[in-house]
Subunit: 217 residues, 4 copies
């Protein structure tokens, strides 16, 4: 029943008596699954008596934003899973950094709805695209922050994973970098900003080596 | 704690170091459970002071659509479970195809709400019924896509399951076919389109052999 | 990874190759947890600039209905758990009956919101109280239906549980009976109908023997 | 499959045949994960065609309240996990007290939305801050209630945990005390009340010893 790890590490820091890797991962999985599924709630349902075909065509930008966010959250999940597969022990700062990742992922449905609506009007408000890419960038950066922390405290990793942490950290910079580009592009053209995020999702879904290795985040 | 399978398959393709079958199934189960439970949110609650009895009678078409979608998602769950019970190893394209199935299932609450409202007005907008059946058809087709992929890469299946993949693929065509019929019927008469989807759900719930064998999807 | 039970029972009926008891229970647990947590979404948040103290006092009937429903769903969970603890094997009709229970539990947030709002206006619409108690009655009856089915097919139960099924079925009639009374009382006085449901929840929470034995359902 | 504990304790009280510690913890984890993730739904999405940058600036108080609540729920989760790690056996009153904790945590999204909106208008309604801190205070008090109950019935705890229950109870008073201060501060100045709750969350996230020991609750 208990998978937590309690003790004091070599450097004398107290290691949290809180939940171990498996329990943190199960809780994180639940939050990520809910975040992905909740995205649909923000889509506007055509009113009773409305011309449904017309209303659905109007919603197409919202559907696209929804699909990009859903796929992005699934990629975050795969990367989160791969990351926690390497972890032997969870201490307090790691728990906090993971909390930031979960805060970011849980929040994604809000900028998704904001961008989906902004792309429907004639205005195509670029602030919505910048906001959307910034939330993804922040979430990916929190992932990178976990890798930074793990590089400094390799005893939290499984023996076999310690050699690869430097490479994983370097690869994990791809996510924040790509979303920083999406911020800049979105500041110029809202739909193009979403397009960059869609390309990032497609790349990490289809590229032969990025997935499952902390690539997108 | 780790159930992932890492390695290179015989054909030289890299097999993802991502989550194994059990972990993917648990995550999928969570998404499917949430998708089924979220359906209720889109039902319109009678306003304070309204004539509740009258308002509830108005909502009957929305209740029926809700019940059909709930049952359909449960059937998808049973089929998803039976499918993953046969899988030995998860690679990247399978992860992606499963993501499409989850995207479809998560999305169902939107066409459900759209159709539920469209059936309440006097118009009975047929676009709503076509949209509803099309989303179910797409989701069932993604299931069939998984079977197609597994037929081409039987090493992902358990030894004992490899002989049955051809039959499972053939049976899994029943879902897309039935929902294609629902699209055509819905294009003629909205409520009849929902009726076809209800019959599909009833058949796969009650038929003695379809359930648990990928039949509805 | 697999906990399903496949085979043919003594009577020659095909036993579903679908999910076994543990997997059905985990999926049901997820749906019940989500149903309980979603209840809060239907509470009306005071608008920006409103007199919050006044708005909250107006919401008190909705808070009470919320608390009764939350507690009732927790009791359903305890009973569901106790029930599945006795089950050795899941066949198709049992899966379908369990689906009805889950449909009822998932739906509870809708009559909860309806009754919460109806009790806020001056009208205290009795149809809302009848509807609320009827949904609870239907859900509890689906539980009783499971016990009826298990009495007829005791091979689905664990050896040690077969002797107690007759008593469990009798006790499980308490739920539908109590909620039938709540329907009648609610048809006379809406708030009193909610009061009966609150008493039922309090009884099954506090009574020394009912809990964990299928009593409330 | 079964982790429940059935029996009669030394004092002759009947111990529930309901779910054991692991099962109660898994169910509680699910509710807590959903409660954290649902918080985002209450944030107001800028309307189509609105000035998104302006609308987002208006929402900043709601974002801050959201972040404080998300972090607070994560801390409740860590404490809940640490608590159930010490429990050997679950009886009926413990199940009921845990239900109160879950009711409180599930409800947090409502005062969060109320306070987030109240801080947006020019009024800064103090009732919203008092309500917010009161719900957190009540939830933390329910945690303390569990410790009180466990002190009186140490046989429910694991052998090794029995010596520490007095200290854990004392530490668990920090939560209700801090939130009582937040109530008083909020009654004077709404934003300052939220500030106290933010400090509590920051303290239990960052303090070297509080976390994982029932400190915040």
């Amino acid at each position: 029943m208990r998978d937590g790890v309690v003790g004091t590490d070599g450097a004398g820091h107290q290691v949290s008596g809180g939940p171990g890797g498996a329990r943190v991962e199960a809780f994180s999985d639940a939050i990520i699954a809910i975040a992905a599924t909740l995205l649909v709630i923000e889509l506007a349902v055509p009113a009773a008596g409305a011309d449904v075909g017309h209303a659905l065509r109007e919603e197409v930008p919202a559907f696209l934003t929804y699909a990009v966010s859903f796929l992005t959250i699934l990629i975050f999940w795969v990367n989160h899973h791969a990351l926690f597969g390497l972890i032997r022990q969870v201490d307090r700062p790691l728990l906090f950094l993971n909390g930031l990742v979960l805060l970011g992922i849980s929040f994604i449905s809000y900028p998704t709805a904001t961008l989906g609506r902004a792309l429907q009007g004639g205005v195509h408000d670029r602030a919505a695209a910048v906001f959307y890419a910034a939330v993804l960038c922040g979430t990916a950066s929190a992932f990178t922050g976990i890798w930074c922390y793990l590089r400094a405290r390799p005893h939290l990793l499984r023996e076999a994973a310690r050699g690869g942490v430097r490479g994983a950290l370097r690869r994990s910079l791809a996510g924040p970098t790509a979303y920083a580009i999406a911020i800049v592009v979105g500041a110029v053209h809202a739909a193009a900003g979403l397009g960059v995020c869609a390309l990032v999702a497609a790349y990490f879904t289809l590229a032969p080596r990025g997935l499952g290795r902390g690539g997108a985040a």
